[in-house]
Symmetry: D3
Subunit: 287 residues, 6 copies
């Protein structure tokens, strides 16, 4: 599932930035206590159950510090892990491994946290229907590419990646224009591109459907209101999305309405880190 | 409380990076629907109770998009807010404001989330004793400076900012050396600088205290074990810190042991975003 | 027509980069000959007819060198100019203006060249039908955001901004899969997002239409073949796009087929610069 | 001919920037459809006759995406190609190759376009005399180093690389000073460095020659006027350069005047891309 | 002595920056005269006695230009060298070596200069007592990480790496507050972290000691005044540091006072470069 | 004398980098002790006699931290100062001023050190003859633009700014080629550009003169040998430059030979910092 990985360009720069944060100006003061030539072997192990994401970034952290560190990855992004599952094995110069450890884990735990929360929402929604869970633009600044990949690793999909990808008309954009005119204007300016309309109530949803939007975002509606919109739509177009106040408790009820997509900002703005740690043995350099 | 703000250099680059993520290559497709010259006024409003942080970044997001946007901030970082509290007022070209909105909020909600969780831990600890809450290096990659400032805004303190700031000797660093030798070596190499030792059990803590560490980190101990270490220390030196498994439920018990500092990784790796939104009125350009 | 401007973030970094190219390490050796305090006034004037684009970048070039340079822009991006049309007036310290001049013009002439060629294609297509001209990913490395805005300034539209924006299935991606399966897979993985299929012959186009693609790219077909695809499609969906070998001579014939969109790589990879120059008067500093 | 390559530092950063443009945030949506492990082999083939340039950048594009992609280059920068000439062979993971393809080609086609147009001017000038063709500072922002190398690949030479390299006195710089004084001032301030003077008419050229300039730029003169200046100069110094309105049609006439150098802004601001493409076979991963 | 090396992240970016300075836009004009395929072997040789530092940066300079250059390092950072000592051997493509040579040497000579001056101060101080020499924040902008490592290579220690690492209260910070209050405030805000106080006279030093500072900086005192402060302190805490006007002539007298640390800004702001050169043999490519 | 300033682009990035070094991640811990709203006034004062350089960078340091800091500069780059001369006055928020102080001074003291040493060499040379002092490529990595401007501020000139600016043929480049052939090749490849040849002995110098070099670098010759070369040259061309082992003691003797230029690596690699300090008064915020 290669589409669960972020672009390597984004990984490289995010890791380089994070290493600077943790190392400059003086480097790892404590690692300098290790005897020259000391080696280490270790295992990245899950301490909570969840879904792994962040492999590319974790490997990159070790390798940017020292290409002599070898990392064998045992489970790819998107795999479920239990307490005690070994995710990867690491081997090489001890000082390099302890220096890179925290940065590697910061990526791995955060991104696995995103994947894990996504999986929980996906599972909860599946109990109610076929709706897909997807993310929002409420991502952590600087990490959008990595977090959106982690959502995919968790089984979710990606809403637009930026303001530049598709049109999403909200009340504020109308400024007196009708929805139909807004959709028509957007189509003319941005042909071939997804045009989505946010609707706060049934009448707006109906207007957006009539206007030929590709997606209608039903915002802050009850499951009952959503069901009414679904029924009103008739066939499979446009796709209907719900957002606003989705929780693990209510997502199944929303999925049961027959809606197509459920957007959950919490996937990226409120996912607790997944607990993974590095169990390490430092050995003499003759090992 | 100016020390609750991150360095402006870190703010500028983090915001610039985030705006690139959200705008390139085509810009805000939807904002382009707004009539030329449209103006807007809005209020950044809390939708959940908590503690605000991220003011500099939020302002920077608007101003980097358009210096004509005016932001009047009503409550500074570190202030508590209730549902409905207006945090700031924003005024200026409508297209600029809606374009910068999400980036500004992503910083504000994330950092306020960190400040809010910190405040909750601080309050919980206060119920038990005088121990201070502080953070760890388990920060979101690329945002360490901003998150550590948010911890201060929430009333917490900052553990070391990087591997480069002070020495923290863990088991892996000893590699056969005794704790006393490690502390002496560290002091020789890094004079004047904090030397901390991690201890997993009472005997190690005693050894670290005897070695003259400035800080001893009591890792994964029960409150009872911690209390024993506190009693054993006698006077006020070294400072004793606990870490490992701190929760809002048990932090008071740890504070009650008389320990000095309680480190909580969750402050920065698992804080849910605080819900703040921008209530906006788009007006004609003659407004 | 604010959507004819690129995001300011992209403008700032592109201009900063260009100024470094032209100035470091020693600065403008020749400008240093000017008497201290010398002032200048000048006009950016078109020396060929065309369409202007690049205003933000040109202004940015002057202002990054010296905020004391004042630029009054007379015609916005997207405006047609004749030989002799004054595009902007510039005023300020003479050394600053001559130092920034070439960088400002390099942006302005290149981007206006893109806008001008776009307008020519748009006009030629209009003679044949209602098809829109749009661009491709064949942009100059490092200038995609600016060039795509210039295409809009010229009256064209923007095809996908990057590989990350929408799905475009070509032969190489099928690897044994049928078109229908590819479209279905793409829809499942990237819901809500444009899915386009490239077709080299009528049968493929028919297959892509049947598969429910949003866009079908008719590649290297004759106008006759395109007309057959248009007829076969029936209603307005999917949008049909032609590409491959479009020229100012044949674009009208393609537009006449009733196709919706015509992609022209040349807009960004082969547009000659539009000739604009700065007519400058250097005056004594008491002016 | 290693001097036909740009510095590797410039190549690396230009390619990294271009890949970010095309891949972030979500990566190549379509490549993700390929079966895991799929391999591909391909050939970069010329579809128009011309001169190749951009090898370093094209290789860098593939390798930055995936070091497992192997590129065997068959003709170096500066070589002429015919329709059908294979420029390089590419082999490796299919997804990596299709993801990097457009970026590699954008560099290769643009830079080969520059080299090709240069060669055409060189050939045209050769028909008239021994004058060398060289470029200007009218380069595409951000690509100066790469474009100036492409000019060399095409057989041209490089005029000054930036405002920082040598002195070029134009009317605007004089501000009342005589040419003789300007040259003397420049020599004093910037000893050992080329001092060039722009002359719009014969009398100025004579003045510049008398002033001891190293180079005199004869701007917007007819071949007859140029010939007069050449005759007036006598011996081989200073070098005489013509600029302004050079075309493939008139360049021979200018070369025939005996002038030393002919500067052509069009080499870098108006060269159409050379058409090269990647013919690719995607194979099963067992291939 | 791995702690004599700077973090590799800082080395990589400093070297990349330096190579851009020396190579762009046109590359090494002169190296292009070398015959294609020419190889070279050379030795980095000390031409003055001193202490070497900068190995990582020097290697990085060659390798960033061309990974085919092999560098065998014979003496590590911190080693003393005599006139004629070979520090490293270099082998590979001649053009690559001469192109990277100056950048490699600029790092090596500057950083070895810092290490050498540090060693001289260390040796001079040792003649008087056990005081350690350490550096200041008076570093060359952009090179702090590398210079502080060079100080360690010379046998010195590192004062705080930045304003962010520890508290140093000077007169200007007091603004009416007493020293005791300042120390207490600093401790409360920045627990666990070094708190240092600058004292200009005995009474202030006594106040700072009483306030419980970790370090007291005795600024611009005579050896006699320093000795009085040392005597007054009694036991080993706080550490006492002297600064202001330290020279190779007087440092021994200061060390003899029993003070713990002597800070010398000159280590990083006024160290002359150590003279090292590259003796090179260019050979035919069949060598 | 505006040519004594470096390009503002180089200043901006060098200052931004230096501030990051000194402030991230936590900011100025000590400045946070100042009462909110405290103001300060101060004077940048010379504590040693010398020549000032670095004005743009010093101002930039204050303004990047806080645009509310006002800096009035009293003497421009290139001015001589005595002990006690006030160079500039600074006024604004106290915390901002103390935070930026060290960075501003690091630039100012280093660059003034370069200007001061340059002036000393210029003065010493003037005692012997009319030879100009100029610099080399032996600059501090990352600061070339600023240091070369400081050399100009000190009255020196700038040798080539990079390997990309002109050709300098050394023994290693010849690889069997004669000097005449090398010069001719260089002229053909890089027309209009300075071609310089290094000569270690009289016969080589004669060969280089005969070859028509623009500059001949007489390396490591005695004044007597240099005088012989000068005599041999006859007229004013080529320019003759000496290098190798120039000191304040011997430079006059070299100048007396009639040589044109004297290159001194020490100007940029071994200039001690000029001592300047900030005398500051922190006042209440009502001041």
């Amino acid at each position: 599932m290669t589409d669960a990985h972020p672009p390597i360009t984004a990984v490289r720069t995010a890791v380089a930035r994070a290493l600077v944060e943790d190392l400059e100006p003086l480097g790892d003061l404590t690692a300098a206590l290790l005897p020259p030539g000391a080696l280490a072997r270790g295992a990245l192990v899950a301490r909570s159950p969840g879904v792994v994401a962040g492999r590319l970034a974790a490997v990159e952290a070790f390798v940017q510090i020292d290409p002599a560190v070898e990392v064998d990855w045992l489970v790819d992004d998107g795999s479920g892990v239990e307490v005690g599952t070994t995710v990867a094995r690491v081997r090489g110069p001890a000082a390099s491994i302890v220096t890179a450890e925290r940065t590697a884990l910061n990526f791995l735990c955060h991104l696995s946290g995103v994947a894990t929360l996504t999986r929980r929402f996906v599972d909860a929604a599946t109990a109610g229907g076929t709706a897909r869970i997807w993310d929002t633009r409420k991502t952590t600044p600087g990490l959008r590419a990595l977090e959106k990949a982690a959502v995919r690793a968790g089984g979710g999909a990606n809403h637009r990646g930026s303001l530049s990808e598709w049109v999403l008309v909200k009340d504020n954009h109308l400024a007196g224009m009708g929805i139909g005119e807004a959709v028509a204007t957007a189509r003319r300016r941005w042909p071939g591109r997804t045009v989505e309309v946010e609707a706060d109530r049934f009448s707006q949803a109906r207007e957006a459907i009539a206007a030929g939007a590709d997606l209608v975002l039903l915002d802050n509606m009850t499951p009952g209101e959503v069901a009414r919109c679904v029924a009103d739509r008739g066939g499979g177009r446009p796709l209907l999305e719900v957002s606003g106040g989705m929780t693990l408790d209510n997502v199944s009820a929303y999925a049961a309405t027959g809606v197509d997509l459920i957007s959950v900002g919490a996937l990226t703005h409120s996912a607790p880190a997944l607990d993974l740690g590095l169990d390490l043995d430092v050995t003499s350099h003759t090992a």
